[in-house]
């Protein structure tokens, strides 16, 4: 479906990365694959370093750390937060909502709206759409969107399919109204029939965790994982992205009546460098306009990769000026969404480490 929003603006964004950095080269031996094949995988996908939490760090820990940084710096005031939208697939608890945990830990006002959304790699787009809709209410002047995941805790360290690319991170995006803003166009599609392509089979009510669900077994390729671990059908996800994303972006630009060449940056979710460069080739977008370097530096932190790619690659240009950007997210659900918006000048755009 096509969506359009008026008078909305991203005011600033902050990315929070665990300080614990791991290198693929040091982890290769934990996979049951020949070293030369793992090196080929590294070169093809662009795996190198990734950030993962050290110990039982939770989503609210990363988020609270980021908020405290913003409060201390004076870039965000507690009382200005009228809504907190948290997008995560690794909540602190089933209940209560982790947005309530964050609200309580920070001592935010009661007169506000807190909600959790279960979304992954399209989660930045879904979160922005939700934030924009909340701003329809006059009483809501500022929405803080938090994207955060610690999915490394749900990926088997013996799974070469997912472990080398997994990253943990959080981002805090402040969204508000702007009277003079250009319309923001977005589109969105979902296909729950392909829900098994990215799944953690056990641990919910359908298949509760127990002694059997934590036993790791080898798949046909030699990856060891249990029913409690995340499992991704890599080639199905690759095909999904290559088939669905280019027409989605073409449709977005068509609806908005904007020429592809007028777009300054295409900032997409970061599954790996390979998939992104294939997308760029297919859509005839120069690599310089489409960042693909987040996985090699930080890993794939699902919904956080777009704000992270913005802060890491485009910070100066969106702090000091305005860029016409197309954002694109695609993943678990399956869900795919894109958005055309003019970004900047932002009030802040930073990256910090946890702890």
């Amino acid at each position: 479906m096509n969506l359009v929003f008026g008078q909305r603006r991203i005011e600033g964004l902050l990315a929070v990365l665990p300080s614990n950095e791991r290198r693929f080269i040091d982890e290769m031996e934990q996979f049951d694959f020949p070293i030369e094949r793992s090196i080929k995988l590294k070169e093809m996908m662009g795996y190198d370093k990734h950030r993962i939490v050290d110990g039982p760090v939770c989503v609210s820990d990363l988020a609270v750390h980021g908020f405290e940084h913003l409060f201390a710096a004076g870039t965000l005031r507690k009382d200005d937060i009228d809504a907190l939208v948290l997008v995560t697939q690794s909540p602190d608890y089933f209940m209560p909502p982790t947005s309530s945990v964050i609200q309580g830990r920070l001592g935010l006002k009661h007169d506000m709206f807190c909600m959790d959304i279960n979304q992954g790699c399209a989660g930045f787009l879904i979160g922005l759409i939700q934030a924009f809709m909340l701003l329809d209410q006059p009483a809501i002047r500022k929405v803080v969107l938090v994207n955060a995941d610690v999915l490394s805790r749900k990926v088997s360290s013996r799974d070469r399919n997912s472990y080398p690319l997994i990253g943990d991170a959080a981002s805090i995006t402040v969204v508000g109204r702007a009277d003079d803003a250009m319309p923001i166009h977005a589109n969105l599609k979902m296909d729950g029939t392909r829900r098994d392509a990215l799944i953690i089979p056990a641990g919910g009510f359908r298949e509760p965790s127990g002694p059997a669900t934590c036993i790791r077994e080898a798949d046909a390729e030699g990856n060891l994982r249990s029913r409690d671990d995340l499992v991704m059908n890599g080639s199905a996800v690759f095909n999904f992205v290559q088939v669905e994303v280019p027409p989605m972006i073409a449709a977005l630009l068509e609806t908005a009546q904007v020429d592809k060449d007028a777009v300054d940056a295409f900032v997409f979710h970061q599954p790996n460098r390979f998939m992104l460069q294939k997308l760029a080739d297919k859509m005839k977008i120069p690599y310089a306009k489409m960042p693909s370097n987040i996985v090699e530096h930080f890993g794939n932190s699902s919904g956080v990769t777009i704000p992270l790619a913005l802060a890491f690659n485009l910070r100066d240009r969106i702090l000091g000026g305005t860029l016409t950007t197309v954002l694109g997210g695609f993943g678990v659900g399956l869900t795919w969404s894109s958005m055309l918006l003019r970004l900047g000048p932002l009030d802040f755009c930073d990256m910090i480490e946890y702890p």
Binding site: F33, P34, E36, R37, K40, L41, M44, N161, E221, N233, G234, S235, A236, F238, N239, F240, Q242, V243, F274, K278, D281, K282
Partner: protein, 77 residues
């Protein structure tokens, strides 16, 4: 066919390959190689194949035949 074999040699980490070679005999015929083939099919033949489709080919000749049939030859991923 020659260009296909050259590309397959690259994917399989071999100096050269023949159309009668069996895919499962190559040490490098793994999920990464299969993904490379899926990607090649997409860019070269504009066709989408699942990993399962690709695994159905026994020899390089079979694989070439499958990919050459192009789009619609097999169900999408």
């Amino acid at each position: 066919m020659d260009e296909f074999l050259k590309e397959m040699a690259d994917i399989l980490d071999e100096e050269s390959v023949n159309e009668s070679d069996r895919l499962e005999d190559f040490a490098a015929w793994d999920s990464l190689a299969i993904l490379s083939v899926i990607s090649m099919a997409d860019s070269r033949y504009n066709a989408i194949f699942s990993a399962q489709d690709i695994k159905g080919a026994a020899t390089l000749r079979d694989l070439h035949e499958l990919l050459s049939k192009g789009a619609g030859a097999a169900g999408a991923g």
